[in-house]
Symmetry: C2
Amino acid sequence: MNEQFPSVLLEKAVSEFAKLPGIGRKTAMRLVLHLLRQDLGAVEAFAGAMTTLKREAKFCKVCHNISDTETCRICSNPQRDASTVCVVENIRDVMAVEATQQFRGLYHVLGGVISPIDGIGPGDLQIESLVERVKAGGVKEVILALSTTMEGDSTNFYIYRKLAPTGVRLSVIARGIAVGDELEYADEVTLGRSIVNRTPFNGSF
Amino acid sequence: MNEQFPSVLLEKAVSEFAKLPGIGRKTAMRLVLHLLRQDLGAVEAFAGAMTTLKREAKFCKVCHNISDTETCRICSNPQRDASTVCVVENIRDVMAVEATQQFRGLYHVLGGVISPIDGIGPGDLQIESLVERVKAGGVKEVILALSTTMEGDSTNFYIYRKLAPTGVRLSVIARGIAVGDELEYADEVTLGRSIVNRTPFNGSF
């Protein structure tokens, strides 16, 4: 036991919290002491929500998004356009695209991007299942919506090579100046691409 | 269920995390997805550490610090000087003072400071038990180590009025320029007090 900690139980709880990414020991201590001030029911609700999620959450067998059922709400929704599949890295990206309300197709969650430095290869991602999904037919367009980083671009290219033989239409999300940004603060690569990939303008957006 | 969340279980876990102070919904999501990537044993260890702490942690009957036993390790240590009691706001402050290794007396944890704006009065704090502890005899000096804020000062003054009749020696921790600070950036109240409360200097610290 660390000499400074007045309680082994406290130290254990703080250590568990400090394992979370971005949570240092001081923050962990603050969070644990906050929980300790709540009543037992509240602490049990907190702890129970985590273990229940881990025990019972499923991953959609079609798109691999987290789901309470075998096939997720999006994939099983007949109102969605099953011919368009948006490829994203993770669950948060599905939520981010959904929040825009600009996409009515389905998703395919890769579970990350190819990153040799982190030991993540194509086999660790849901790329093979994407190829099978396209080969099974019914998908007309695959939209690649990965991070605009080196890893994202490598993954885009890897998927392009895998999907090109199937003849499916492939597109990537537009890169350009973020809405609300000033040109003088944009990096030159982004600004350059935004000029090359300029879109026709008819007086309104 | 929030339309954006692909899973009720996920949403519940995120909501529980987002109740913690300083944790917004985006951070909560990131932490929950991290836990979801761990194996079940790790998630159960995390959840179990919180509920076990809440169920089994005790508060020392002498100093009110968190403890695994009826009387905490510090209060039951015969090597500590029981005649000096350091009054602090909370458990973290005990750990902060212990970390300095400059204090070998005992503590008294108030559980906060008097703060009318937050609805915290003297009756919500362990002040009465401090007075009884001093009246019981054996305590020669009470060191007030509260925050140097308006609330801390009000609490210092309240304790002073309560303890003055007992004749116990009272002191407050020194206020002055923090070690490593440059004078030009110090606020004038602190700098002024550091001059008024200057200490004799014999060539070394």
